[in-house]
Each structure stands twice: as C-alpha cells, then as structure tokens.
C-alpha cells in the first residue's frame, strides 16, 4: 500500500506550525499506524531530516501515551481502539491521511504531534483519589461490595487518560475524563467519605485548567478507546449539584482531642 501523509510539524510550544506532506510508500497492511510512522521517520532520519515527534509507549492500548488526530478523528477510524491499535488495513490504498495533535487550549503543543496533558494530572490532584495512607487499611474482605457496583466502577476505571475525549469535544471539555474518575471512586464504599468534596474540587479544577463545559454532544464517548459512557457525566453532574446543595464550611478547628 502507499499513502500521502499531511503531518502537523511544529518546532516548539511558541513556534508556528504547519502541515507538511510526506510520502509513505511500501506500507504493509499489517503495520500498525505507529509502525508506519516509524518507517517514515526512519527514512527522514536517513535523509538528515528531523523525524516527526509523536508520543507513544506501550503500543498495546493501555498506557494512554499515543494521541493522534487522524483525518479529524481522535485515535483514527477504529472504534474502541487507541492510535497504537489501528492498523493500515483500515485505510484505502493511495489515501491521503491527515495527522494532527490533540487540539485544546489546556493541551499546549510541545513539538509536532506531542502535547502537554499535565492538566489532567492536576484534575486528579484536586481530588481524584481515596485518602488511604499506606498501612491504614482494614482487611480486604472487611467490606463486601456488590458485584454490579464493582463492575460499574471498573467500566469507569478503565480510562487510560489519553485525552481523546477532550480532543473530540467541540468544547474541549474534560468531562468524560473527570466523570470517569468521579464514577469509579464514587461507586465504591471506600470512596464515600470524600465523594462530594471530590466531585466539587475536580470539576472546579477542570474549569480552572481551561477545559470547556459539557453540552452533551457525545463525541467523547465515540472517541474513547475504552468506550466509557457519558452516563458517567450524568452521575458526575448529579453528584456535583448535590455537593453544591449540601455544601458545608469545613471546620478549621484543630483535632478532636
């Protein structure tokens, strides 16, 4: 197979970027999309041109590093797959393929196709955890949890933090990412003590980072490589409203002793 690539090249965060054209001849349909880019890069390298920078690591759809907008679709044409799980047989021979980075105000470009996604970590810092310092845990079977609750929590916990939901959203909202974590922890008994504090802080942080709001386009769940449902966003919104209604001033008095 052979392809023409239009690739976003951008030297650095503050440089102007533009689309450059490259030929990709001799492509095997069994190549993964990233292997096709490896081969293109190998040739660029041999001719003394700087290779195309792109983020990648595990190449089996779980680390969440890879993050390409392929013909305008986050992670490309295969539903429920990350970029690294897309193979060239999913494209038509001779096709022109446009490859761009995630585009969102909260994801500045570092170089070429690599963007900075640390805003997602800061949303987690705001409350995406259960405070259980090492050593303080009771026996793992001390609390029975209905299987259905754990299964639902696992569906949400499958998020790989790639940011495709943000890239796909016309508002560049991180609602699906945030809601997945809110749902995962909020569905478990261990997550109850911090449930409302967590949702308020995470949603507020999401706004602070410059992500947009959710207006229920539903593009995020279509782009999600783990097919996480926007039902999680409904759950997050419910918890957020409840948190706002129940909001109490946190006591600043010292310990109870």
């Amino acid at each position: 197979m052979k392809f023409t690539l239009e690739v976003w090249r951008q030297k650095g965060p503050n440089a102007a970027g533009k689309l450059e054209r490259y030929d990709a001849p001799d492509v095997s349909p069994d190549m993964s999309f990233l292997e096709m880019l490896d081969v293109v890069n190998e040739r660029l390298n041999e001719t003394g041109t700087e290779p195309i920078a792109f983020a990648h690591d595990c190449r089996e759809g779980i680390c969440g590093s890879c993050s390409l907008m392929i013909n305008g679709i986050a992670h490309g044409p295969v539903r429920g797959a990350a970029t690294c799980q897309v193979h060239m047989r999913s494209f038509a021979d001779g096709e022109t393929i446009r490859i761009e980075p995630w585009r969102a105000r909260a994801f500045p470009v570092i170089k070429d196709l690599v963007v900075d996604r640390e805003a997602l970590d800061r949303i987690v810092q705001a409350g995406g955890f259960i405070s259980a310092p090492t050593g303080s845990a009771p026996d793992a079977n001390a609390i029975a949890i209905p299987k259905q609750d754990v299964d639902d929590a696992m569906d949400a916990a499958a998020c790989i933090g790639c940011g495709a939901c943000v890239a796909a959203c016309p508002n560049a909202s991180a609602s699906l990412f945030t809601a997945a974590k809110v749902s995962h922890l909020g569905l478990l008994p261990q997550g109850q003590p911090e449930r409302y504090r967590r949702v308020e802080r995470m949603v507020d942080q999401m706004d602070l980072e410059g992500f947009g709001g959710c207006t229920l386009f539903g593009e995020c769940q279509e782009a999600c490589p783990k097919l996480i449902s926007i039902d999680t966003i409904a759950r997050m919104n419910r918890d957020y409203f409840k948190a706002a209604a129940m909001s109490r001033v946190e006591s600043t008095a010292g310990g109870s002793g």
Partner: protein, 637 residues
C-alpha cells in the same frame, strides 16, 4: 567490593519482624529534614514516593513519561498473588514462599522471598482501601483465579487490566501527595546519571525531555525504580521507551549488577510479521488451557493449516511432555517452539511461529463457550493479525517479557553504593532464575509500600550525612559528563539510524543469548557486540539539537547503554555453566533435554562489578543458602 546481604538472623518467620524492631527510626519531626529522590513511577516507584511522603519525607520524584500514570506496570494483565487463603484451599504464607523459591529454580534469596509472601496480604488490603476494583463474587467478597506454578487460587485480578488498576491506585496516592506538597513531581525528565559524594549516592543528573535542559538534584538518598532491561533484545513485550539507562549508569558508578543473564521468555506472543515490527504483544498464558500447539511434521510445509491432515501434524508439546502437555511451564514451552522453528517447521510468512489451535476445543464445548472464556483475547488477536482465530489457528511465538536480573541489593534494598536503593524489576532479589506469573506486581508494591519506607529510615538515621548542594564539584562534573555525551552523539552525523543499531543488537542477543544459549554462540556475541558498539560511536546519525524535544537523542543514549550492557549479559550467561529457570545452556541438560542445575558450583547470585567499558567485569558471589526449601530438580514429563 563486599557483598553484605544483611539478612537478619533467626527463624525465617521472624526475620522481618525482628529486623523492623532493630532498625533505627527517624522521628516524625526529623523526617521533613530529609530529601529522597525516587526515579521511576511504575508500581514500585509510585507507591514508594507516595508512602515516603505520607511518612513526612521530602520526595523528589522523576519520570520520563508525561504523567506518572504511564509506566509499563500498567500493561500487566493477569493478576497479583497474595497468600490470603480466602478460597480456603490450603494456601499460606509459607506455601507462597515455597512456590516462589521453587519456581525461581532455587536462585533467589530465601529471606527476601519469605518477606514478600508475608507482605502480600497487606498489599491487597491497601489496594482495596484505595479503591482498586478487584473482581468480586456475587456475595461481594473478592474473587481469585489460579496461575502457573501453584496449586491454589491466590491470584487477585481486575479483569485483564490488573496492572493498570494497581498502578492507578499508586498514581492517585502519589497525586494526593503532590497536591499536599510532600512530593515534587518532575515529569518528562529522564535520569542520566547518579552523583556520588564521599562514596554515597547524593543526587542525580537529569535531562528535561521538553527543553533539553540538563539539571542536577541533590538529596540524602536515591531510589531507583526504573524497570527491567528486556529491550536489549529490541523486540520484547516491554513498552518502547523502557530502558536500562538508569541502572546501567548506576552500575558504572559502582552498583553491582546481579544475574543479568536471567531473562524470561513468554511462550505465547503474537509473532513478528515484518522488519518494521516495533514491539511484541503478549497473549495470555491461559489460552493454553484449551488451545493445542502444533506445527507440520514436514519442514517447509506451506499449506494452509486446514489443509494439513491430522496425521501430518506434530503436537510437539503433547508428544514430548505427555503429563503437562500444552500447559508445560513457560521456559519449556518457549524452548520447544524455538526448536521446531529451527528445524524449519515453523509456520507463517517468516517461519518463526507455531499454531495454537482451538478447533478441538470448539468442537468439544462450542464456539460460544470459547468466546466466553477468551473473547477479548481473540478480538485483540484479530485486531492485530486480521485473522479470525475461531476459524484458523492462532500463530504464536515466544517473546522476551521480563528480566529477573538487576542491580544487586541487600535485604534493605540498598545496592553496593551506600544510599542508592533499588526496587521492583530493576533489582534482582526475589524471583531467582524464573518469575512465576502474577508475582511481578506483588514484588513492585511490596518494595514500594512496605519495605523501602522502613529500610530507608534506618539508612538515613545511621548515615550521618553532610549537607550537599547541587553546586558541589561532584555534581558539576557529573553534569558535564552527561552534556558531553549528548553532544558527542549529536556530533557523529554518521549514516545509520539509532533504530538500525538497536535492531542489529537485538538480533545478536536473540540468536545467541536468547531462549537457548551455548558457549560458542555467547563467544560469538561477545565478539560482535564490541564491534557494533564501535560502529555506533562512529556511524550513528542523531538528527536535531540538544535544546528541544529530541526523541532520536533519547533513544541514542539508551541504545548506547544497551550496547555496553549486552556484553555483561553475555559474560554472565557464559560464566554460568548450568541451566536454571530462564537460563538454558545447551551443554547442560539432562539426557531427555531438561535444564540441569549445578547446585554444587552455582548456588550463588553473580554480582558483577564494572571495570570500564570493554574490560572484563569482576565477579563477586553471594552464596545462596536453602535452609527451608530443599533443593530439588524440576520435571514436567
């Protein structure tokens, strides 16, 4: 160099308790005066950084990823072992200890393994408290599955994403501590050297991968949790960026490297399909419960599998190992696949593959049952190969998966450099010559949550450290060395790409230091590696500059280290004149082709001291005593 294992005295059940009592403590008010550097944010690094911060230490934590949630621990599928005995099937701490020592083919340190088994139960408690969604039964209690090398059900799992969920638990604890201010997190930052002052590890040199800035950081102790070295083979199931640079550069500064030849080759991976192949994908071992492994009897038989009649197929595992058959252990199954392919009977375009056939199982229980058991794996296979495994047999081949060797550490997880601690896959201590399934996650979290946070306090309380700053001449010198290396790599402007060298090194290692090794092959490799290294430093082409994101430069530094490390690995494999676990020397096998250990000569950990690039490393031996698990021969006939 002296190897002091610091194994506590007394009965094995009491060693860790006794040691915990005897270790010095740092009082809470003083902990904030100490700074600890943690490099790597997989299970071991993430859990240690979070826990040290909870205790009150200042933690500087480094990852070359863009987020501490991406390390390759995340890709572990199957599960994590723990001696909870929730299934009431006779499990115990002692049994987990016994299975692990035996599974490691008697090349692990008994005291470490016992402690690991003891701590395993605390890990599950900790993870559940953090919200890890382990699988549960309808009654709401935790579910278990069985894994290889054990006759009890002790493996906890979260679908096929156990590693991901455990890592997210550690990551969330770490983010909590970052928000609290106890941890300063440096993402996109690769450690390129460790700095010693007065013989003690006091800091590191790093490169900011976004800007190219080379920085130094000073601390009171340094902890490496930077994973294994499987990518020395180029193709492995490791992530593309996994590398040995941190541990190799620490080795060059004086940390002994133990048992580098102990590598684990997993038998069921999707085979290589072309020269462009960038990595290999594991298919769960559980498939061998229902799949039958075979190749054509005749060499070079290119007929489609369905056209090969039953009588012309060789179900070689069932033939050679009638009692274990298709469920023979990893090392045995891997080696047998290599043998039939070497004979020219391999299948697929490249001839490096064997069939894993579900036709009989589908006839027996129906396609629906097989779909229930393995649906997600079949889908993953089909996505990669574009073949439907319900209709045609899967093609599989062994691939490098895990490395048991690593930096030598004592019972406190400290290397031969005082103050330099090593955890997880980066150290050598717990798995001997072969790791059992579902034990890597257990070890990473045991080290990070429950061992290092205690033992580092003992070091800090005893070390009497002077304050040093990053302006110290030893820091300035180390920083210059790192900058010089980058400039040298960029200045070569040769003809071959970094990947071309890496691929060639991988082939050498796979051919001569892979599943089966012999003296002639290892000597050949020991001749070719220095030649390739010499060509690399003369003819590599690293484009771009040092002052920006430069992925070619990152790779170049890592491959340069692999080109040195590979020689040590072959040296170790050549010196170990026995077969044990993942290390199979063709000269040392029983008459029926099984691994033959030599306990009288090789019941030791081989810890190598660096003596300069190209110079023969110096061997130190830590004798291994087996006082609790009697030495026996493994057989699977």
């Amino acid at each position: 160099m002296e190897l002091r294992s610091r194994i506590p005295s007394g009965p094995i059940e009491q060693k860790w308790d006794k040691h915990r009592f005897e270790m010095k403590l740092v009082n809470p008010a003083n902990k904030r005066k100490y700074t600890v550097i943690v490099v790597g944010t997989g299970l071991a690094g993430g859990s240690a950084a979070a826990t040290l911060s909870e205790l009150g230490y200042n933690v500087l934590c480094f990852s070359f990823h863009d987020s501490p949630r991406r390390a390759h621990s995340i890709a572990a599928q199957g599960g994590i072992n723990a001696a909870k005995n929730y299934q009431n099937d006779g499990d115990s701490i002692y049994r987990l200890f016994y299975d692990t020592v035996k599974g490691g083919d008697f090349r692990a340190r008994e005291a470490n393994v016992y402690r690991l088994a003891q701590i395993s139960v605390n890990i599950i408690d900790q993870c559940v408290a953090q919200g890890v969604p382990f699988a549960r039964e309808y009654g709401g209690l935790l579910a278990n599955r069985s894994f290889g090398g054990a006759q009890v059900s002790r493996t906890f799992y979260a679908r096929g994403q156990t590693g991901q969920q455990l890592l997210l638990g550690a990551y969330q604890a770490l983010e909590k501590e970052i928000a609290r201010g106890g941890v300063r997190m440096f993402t996109h930052t690769e450690m390129l050297d460790v700095v010693l002052v007065d013989g003690k590890a006091r800091g590191i040199v790093t490169r900011d991968l976004r800007t190219g800035a080379i920085e130094t950081y000073a601390a009171d102790a340094v902890v490496l949790a930077t994973g294994g070295y499987g990518n020395v083979f180029y193709l492995s199931t490791n992530a593309k960026n996994s590398n040995a640079t941190a541990i190799w550069r620490a080795h060059k500064r004086g940390a002994a490297f133990a048992n580098p030849c102990f590598t684990q080759i997993h038998p069921t991976c999707i085979p290589v399909s072309g020269d462009y192949q960038s990595k290999l994908t594991l298919m769960s071992e559980s498939l061998r419960n229902d799949g039958r492994v075979w190749v054509p009897k005749a060499r070079g038989d290119k007929r489609a599998p369905g056209d090969i009649p039953e009588a012309e197929r060789d179900y070689y595992l069932e033939r050679k190992y009638p009692s274990y058959g298709n469920l023979s252990p990893r090392d045995i199954a891997s080696r047998a696949a290599k043998e039939v392919c070497d004979e020219g009977r391999g299948v697929g375009e490249t001839g490096r593959g064997v069939y894993l056939d579900f036709a009989d199982a589908i006839n027996r229980v129906g396609e629906q049952r097989i779909r229930e058991r393995y649906g997600n794996l079949f889908e993953m296979y089909e996505r990669i190969t574009d073949e439907n495994p319900y209709k045609v047999p899967m093609r599989i081949y062994p691939a490098v998966h895990y490395t048991m060797g690593g930096l030598w550490v004592d019972y406190n997880l400290m290397s031969t450099i005082p103050g330099l601690h090593v955890m997880g896959e980066a150290n050598f201590s717990d798995h001997g010559a072969n790791r059992l399934g579902a034990s890597a996650l257990m070890q990473g979290l045991a080290d990070g949550y429950f061992i290092l946070p205690y033992t580092i306090g003992d070091y800090l309380a005893n070390a009497k450290l002077e304050k040093v700053s990053a302006e110290h001449p030893d820091f300035v010198a180390a920083k210059k060395t790192v900058a010089d290396t980058s400039n040298r790599l960029l200045g070569i402007k040769g003809k071959r790409t970094v990947d071309a060298f890496h691929r060639e090194l991988g082939l050498i290692m796979w051919e001569d230091c892979g599943m089966a090794r012999n003296a002639a092959g290892l000597k050949r490799a020991l001749g070719r590696i220095p030649e390739l290294r010499e060509e690399f430093w003369r003819n590599v082409n690293v484009p771009g500059s040092d002052a920006e994101l430069n992925q070619a430069l990152e790779k170049a530094g890592r491959v340069a280290d692999f080109l040195e490390f590979a020689e040590l690995m072959c040296t170790d494999a050549l010196h170990r004149e026995e077969s044990c676990g993942g290390h199979f020397r063709e000269e040392h096998q029983t008459p029926d082709g099984e691994a033959q250990r030599d306990d009288s000569r090789y019941a030791y950990a081989a810890a190598w001291e660096f003596a300069g690039v190209g110079n023969a490393p110096i061997l130190h031996k830590e004798p291994l005593a087996f006082e609790n698990v009697p030495l026996t021969q493994r057989s699977y006939k």
